[in-house]
């Protein structure tokens, strides 16, 4: 909604854009972790979005999702909403094979997986949505023999031109995240488009100009915005809440990031050994570490 407007403004006038972004940042802040702007500006750790290596090409704007593992409840609303929007899009349907049979299969851009961490009784069930991470250095793009796979300079979205794709599957081999799926009916590679046909659609109400998965999430676990704008909601979330990238060891610099789980007083009070739990969190964090830097050699 206003986020989109803010992105637009920010690219035009730095001063005006920053002011608007500041207001929005304060407005969407969650009560428990109020993003203190001072920490953001003088921050101990540099903003993740700006600290990328200078050697590779960096874009001025990079749209991405930030997924909050604290509040994802694993309802799959983002999965079905994504499928509904993208199967009805101009690019053609996403196939469903054997949909009512014993082994249904089909093309999805987004999947929610579930993991169990820890040893009973100190276990946690973590729902983990995963779609294309729109890497800043996407390994799937240079390997494409036809140029069907590309990364947009204007906003960093990684897309497939379905009219050029020959279905050789090499890009899927080259993606360590398994984010690409070959559509078995159309025989072309498909992937998350960040709903590029929604977010710029001026026919839509401004509030609807965001990815279908973000619109659908009932708990607000999915944030969408420009990670290169240090004052955007996503940048603030990454900075203030320890946003991290998947498989940092391969230097793909995913644009999508994940917000690690934090211990809360409510959970701490109900688990049998809150002190042990807190110690575990203190020792490991919950996934985010400064290991990112070492993997980039």
């Amino acid at each position: 909604m206003i986020r989109w407007l803010k992105d637009l403004l920010a690219s035009h006038a730095v001063a005006d854009g920053a002011a608007v972004a500041h207001d929005i940042g304060a407005a969407v802040a969650e009560p428990p972790v109020r993003p203190t702007t001072t920490r953001g500006v003088t921050g101990v750790e540099p903003p993740a979005a700006v600290s990328v290596g200078a050697a590779a090409e960096t874009l001025a704007r990079q749209l991405a999702l930030v997924i909050d593992l604290n509040v994802c409840v694993g309802c799959h609303a983002c999965v079905t909403s994504c499928k509904e929007w993208n199967t009805a899009g101009s690019a053609g349907p996403l196939c469903d094979e054997n949909a009512y049979g014993a082994n249904p299969t089909g093309t999805f851009f987004n999947r929610v997986q579930t993991y169990e961490a820890g040893v009973f009784p100190l276990t946690e069930t973590i729902h983990f949505p995963k779609s294309c991470l729109h890497c800043e250095d996407p390994p799937c793009v240079p390997v494409c023999p036809t140029g069907a796979s590309y990364k947009r300079k204007s906003d960093g979205i990684v897309l497939v031109d379905y009219d050029k794709c020959i279905g050789c599957k090499y890009c899927a081999w080259a993606c360590p995240y398994g984010a690409r799926e070959l559509d078995e009916e159309r025989q072309v590679m498909t992937k998350c488009t960040l709903c590029v046909d929604r977010i710029y659609d001026e026919q839509m109400a401004p509030a609807d100009r965001q990815p279908a998965c973000v619109k659908a999430c009932p708990t607000g676990a999915r944030l969408f915005g420009d990670v290169k704008d240090p004052l955007s909601e996503v940048s603030i979330a990454i900075r203030e809440r320890g946003g991290y990238a998947l498989m940092p060891e391969w230097g793909t610099r995913p644009a999508n990031q994940y917000l690690p789980r934090r211990p809360t007083s409510a959970v701490g009070a109900t688990t049998p050994l809150p002190s042990a739990r807190d110690e575990a969190f203190a020792a490991h964090g919950s996934g985010h570490g400064d290991t990112d830097g070492t993997g980039f050699a």
Binding site: V79, A102, N103, P104, T105, G106, F108, R111, V112, Q113, T114, Y115, E116, A117, G118, E124, T125, I126, F128, K130, P139, P142, V143, C144, P145, T146, G147, A148, K164, C165, I166, G167, C168, K169, Y170, A172, W173, P176, Y177, G178, E181, L182, E184, Q187, V188, Y244, A245, L246, M247, E249, W250, Y258, P260, A280, G285, S286, G287, H288, G289, T291
Partner: protein
Amino acid sequence: MNPAFSVIVFTTLAGAAQGLVVALALATLAGLSISASFLAGALALALVMLVGALGASFLHLGRPERAWRAAMMWRTSWLSREVIVLPAFIGAVGLWWLVVRFDAPAVWRALLLPLGCIAIAALLWYCTAMIYACLRFIEEWAHPLTILNYTLIGIASGSVLCCALAALAGEAVLLRAIAPWAFAATVLAGATRVLALRRNAALKPRSTLQSATGIAAPRLVQTSMGMSAGSFNTREFFHRASPRVYRQIRAAALMLLFVLPAFCMLWALSMSSEPAAAAPWLLALLLQVPGLLADRWFFFAQARHPQNLYYQVVS
């Protein structure tokens, strides 16, 4: 990875054709007396194999009618480079076949085109292997041994084919010159392949479920991959052979591709009767064909794609 039969056939068939052409080119450059009809026939066979390989590669595509587009991104994509170099190699071999067939000047027939064919064959092996070796997170492939394996296995299988053809056609001079070359190539290819297999068996993947999800807990298990049945991700990246079959294919590949043919060649080399006996060479060739397929199957099956970390439990 789930080995695709089309890619297995393509890489082994093209590799053997390249090896055959390289053996013929080296023999020609060495000034051996080879009858023009034999040379033309062997080159024609190489052409048929290469065109067959090209056809197999089309079977891998979801949209083969758009295959011409694959030559576009040669600046960044090894697959695109291969798509350009393969027809170039077919063209060079075709040209050589033409000048041999129609007895063109010796500078073309016995110098320039053999040299060109060797160079393009080497380039093609490099492109084919780099398609796999450039994927840095498929650690079984991302190693110079991949390039060495593809090249040496192509040379070995092609020169065994060349020896079998020469033995059948009674080209004793050629056979005597190429036989030690074929034996050495087979032994060397086997040795480097064993090196690669040992390296891969000892490989500890850099990516873990922890780095893939960012959840640091030492005990972390997937309880659902997010779908009730399979998907492209579960079909494309898992070979699904049982551990027993997997080990058997590995053993069969080493025996059929390297060990048994090497013994056949020793048997052939120990016989000095004229005209050369074709039986050991034909036997070596017959053993190598399934060996090549098994070895290439294993090459793909052994590669553990990091995406498999995300797809462990169907529920």
